[in-house]
Each structure stands twice: as C-alpha cells, then as structure tokens.
Symmetry: C2
Subunit: 315 residues, 2 copies
C-alpha cells in the first residue's frame, strides 16, 4: 500500500486512523509482555483511573474515560477474573457496582509504573524525531469535532455549493405545472387544499400576475424545484405566498433564495411592508421567515383556514 492514502485524499481519514491505532495497540500488547506483565492494552484506561482512585462505579469510570458503560463493565469483569479488581456494593444504593483494586492490582499498579515511564519516554523520544506533533494534533481534532461535528461542516459546505448552483428566475408559462404541483404537494400533505389555493394555482396569470404580482421559480439542474409568489392585494398591501420547495431539493437554501428575491422585488415595486401567513406546525418554514426578517403580527383577516400565524417585514 505504497501511496494509497496520498491518492484517496482526506476521505480515508477514519480508516487510516484505525489502522494506526490497531498497530499501536498490537505493539502495546507486546510491550506488556516484554515487561512480564500479564496485562491487556484495553484494560489500561479503566485500570489507570482506578489506580488514581479506588471504589468508583461503572458509570463514573465510563464517563471518565469516554467509553460506554458496557465496555467498562466488560473490562472490569475481565480484570476481576484476572484477580486485579474486586467488585463490591458499598453504599446504600444497591444498583451501584463499586470497583476496588485488589492486593494484586495494587502491586501491579506499582510494577506498571516503570513500564509506563519507559513507554512514555520512548514515545516522547520518537515524537522528538517528528516535525508534526501527533499528540497536539489529536487533541486539537477532538476539540474541533466537539465544537462542530464533521457532519455539520460538510452539510454547510454542501449547502453553500448547491445553493450557488440554484438559479432563481421569473415565472414562465412552462412552469405552470411545477407551480401547482410543488404547492399542492405540501398543502395536501399537512392540510387540505382550499378554494383560495385552487384559484391561485390553477390560474396564476389571472390571479397573481395580472393584478401586479410576481412569481419566482428556483431551478436546480434545469429542473424547477422551488416556487414563491409575491401578491399585490387590492388594498395596496403585498404578500409573500405560495412558497414551496421540493423535498428532494431540501438543504440547498432554496427557500432563503426565493424569499430574498421576493423581498427584493417588493422593494423595487415600492412596497413598504410585506406580510405572510403560515402555520406554526411548519417549523422550518416559520424559522426561515424569521431569518428573512419577518416578525409575528396579529389581527389581519385571512382567507385560509390553515393560517394560525401572521408575520410582517417592514421594507
């Protein structure tokens, strides 16, 4: 496997780390033997914690060393079978399994000191030969992943990349079917289609565009995957409505792109405020509206049964 990992790029990080760890664990086993200690590397974290302080419970040890309680339970059983530990119920709480070093365990802890010192020194010496600090790097990565998991990092990157590939264009008659289908999809999934829906979706030209409104379509890979309308009401107010994004295309920022475009258009047309109606059941949607700057208002009459929240954005 000469330069395999240099070709894979960073993708194989997990696999590579595992190989390194397996290898080091194998060596550790041989080292225990060299020192005449009948001791398995996997026991080390548990044993070490107990040699610092006796009498802890399974769960305490597990959280201390970052293993599952099951793993600790198995290791403790192993160590006890080998005579290094004794398990006792101590306090009032009889669920708890308090673990103590036995005489043999205590003696072994002392004998292992010497070995630990040598291994530590050997590793420090090896580390001095390297120009990159493995120890520091591991600590940094643990912290890094703690702060923001890899998954989220990739997710954000993907979203940014894909959102850059989304195009928001003006409505054309060819998008009539998509406009209807995308809206019907979510409306009938969560609610049921109402009269006002049929009116707008079946006759967008007559009900939305001719009164002075606009419709925008989000394209991804040539396909219409999101739509949103800007409605002009007879009283001169403007409404953001009929926003719909295909579930297939979620996570590409499409809602945000459509929302921004509608707001921009409303400003262009001289609107001073933009309102919308939604339902608190649709949490991601309501969240998006907040992010776009909308704030909750009350008291506007609504033609929709499903509306239980109204929001407004001042322009």
């Amino acid at each position: 496997m000469p330069d395999f990992y240099s070709r894979t790029g960073k993708m194989a990080l997990g696999s590579r780390l595992r190989r390194l760890s397996d290898r080091i664990t194998d060596e550790a086993a041989a080292i225990y033997q060299l020192y005449g200690n009948d001791f398995q590397p996997r026991w080390f974290p548990v044993f070490y914690v107990l040699s610092e302080q006796d009498g802890r419970t399974i769960t305490e040890i597990a959280s201390e060393i970052g293993h599952s309680h099951v793993s600790v339970s198995q290791i403790v059983k192993d160590l006890a079978r080998n005579g290094y530990l004794e398990e006792r119920a101590v306090s009032g709480d009889r669920r708890k399994n308090h673990v103590f070093l036995s005489e043999l365990g205590r003696a072994t802890a002392v004998r292992l000191q010497e070995q630990f010192r040598d291994v530590n020194d050997a590793l420090e010496a090896a580390m001095a030969e390297t120009s990159y600090n493995l120890w520091g790097a591991i600590a940094e990565w643990e912290h890094l992943l703690e702060r923001k998991p890899l998954l989220r990092r990739v997710q954000e990157l993907k979203k940014a990349r894909e959102s850059a590939e989304v195009q928001v264009v003006d409505y054309q008659p060819e998008y009539a079917a998509a406009f209807r289908a995308l809206n019907e999809e979510w409306i009938s999934k969560y609610f049921r289609m109402e009269a006002a829906d049929y009116a707008a979706l079946d006759h967008p030209d007559e009900k939305i565009l001719q009164p002075g409104g606009h419709i925008f379509v989000a394209l991804y890979g040539g396909e219409a995957v999101g739509v949103c309308a800007l409605l002009k009401h007879t009283d001169g107010t403007w409404e953001l409505a009929k926003m719909a994004v295909s579930p297939k295309a979620q996570g590409k920022n499409i809602g945000w792109l459509l929302g921004r475009r509608v707001i921009e258009k409303a400003r262009e047309l001289g609107a001073t405020a933009l309102f919308l109606e939604s339902n608190t059941m649709l949490k991601p949607a309501v969240n998006l509206y907040y992010k776009l700057g909308f704030r909750k208002i009350t008291g506007r009459p609504s033609p929709y049964e499903r509306s239980n929240i109204q929001m407004e954005l001042e322009l």
Copy 2:
C-alpha cells in the same frame, strides 16, 4: 472525560486514536446518508481502488489498501451483495477472483465524486483551523513505526535504563555460591559439567584468584545476576571464561558490561591478548564476543569437550 488523556501521558495513545477513528467513521456514515448514498464507510478503500482500476484480485486490493485479504474478501462480498461489484474468474489462473464495478457501481462512483470533494474540502477547511497538522503527523508516524517499531524503541530504552543500574564489582567470598550456580545453570542446560568446571567453580580462590586471575560479579537490585572470570594461565596467556548471566536478567547488557570489565582488567595487567573458548550453539554468546572485538582463531589445545570455537582479542 475531561482531561483524562492529559493525565495518562502518552501511554493511552492507541486507545485515544481508536476513539478518534471510531468517531470519524460514525460521522462518515452520517455523511454518506446525507448525500443519499447507501454506502458504508468501511467499503471506501476497496471501492476507491476499484474505481481507479477495475478487475483486480482480492490479494492485489488487500496489499494496495493495507488490509488483510480476509477483510477485502468480506467487503467485496458485501459490495457484491449490494450490487456494486461483480466477481469473475478471468484469466487462466482459476484461483484468482477478479473484481469489477457493475453498472450501478460505476454510476455510484461518479455520484460519490461530489461527496468526496465536499468531505475533502470540509476536512481541509477544518485542518486550516488547526495549528498542528494531523495528516502530516499520521504519515510521519506510519513511517516512523515502519522504520523502528515501538516495541524496539521501548526495548532499547529499557535496556539502557536497566544497564545503568547494573553494577560490576570485584569477587568476594559471599558470591561463591552465585558464581557456581549461574555457571552450572547454563552448562548443564546445554552440555554437561566437566572436570575442569568442577575444579574452577568449586575452588575459585585456589584455581582462579591465587594464580593471578580475577572474577567479576554483576549486581542488579543487590542480587548477583552475572559473573565472568579472567584466567591467567601458567604459559602467561590470559583467558576470558566462565561468563554466565541469569536468564531472569537478560536484556540488560550484562554480558557486555562484564566483558568490557574483563578486557579492561586484562589491559591493566599488561596482557597483550585475550582468548576464549565457546560453542557455536550459543549464538547470543558468540555474537557478544564478536561485538566485544574477539575474532575467531584456530589450533589452540582445549581442556573442554564442549569447545568448538576459539576466539582472540588483541589488546
């Protein structure tokens, strides 16, 4: 597990690496899912190699990615079951299992490209946040362990440390028993005690010291663990003999320390050459003599049956 690893020192390197690798693998699985790819992280190395070049055999792939052939065999079976691969016997050699990407596999390889690019970018970006280079450090450690395994590093350190604790002292009557026992131990293990042995071991004072010879004793932890004699023969020649080291105390450089001391003493006493007799069966001993500077000679009469090699060092 707040600062656990900072307390253990480097001893827990293996365990810590494993945790990190498990974690990253878990994240990788989630990332495959995010991209809608029904794909397991463990498949990656095999799949990657095959997407570079089809039709390789199990063993080829294994050596390329550094897994056992068994692991590759299992992964290939999994991938084939999921329809990504096809196994075929191709050439004349019917033992070989040539593995090819299926149509689905080829399509998946293309789809995965995008994901790999994002993951790579995310990792590069994360890496840019760190001050220590994990990637570089891993590569360095792989190379470091390749060159000299951890075990050997520790072994050398242990030897150096323990050898520093070994004291070589002049013979005293209290060491008579040790002198006899240590020699009898190896002689009767590999050969059988001869008349000349009994003479020297039972009466060291009369047979070795009074004629002008010396005996040195290596002490470790207060115990006599090695002995070696410098004999003065009636013809004025000097011999290194009766070297014995306790098996319990091997790997502490004791033979070398005793040999050096005998040579030093011989020089002090004005000897111009030092010879010894041994048996080629005792490879570590003969090796040691070479390291001390002795070279093979022939033709000297010997009182010992077991002698089949004679060596000499000019002073």
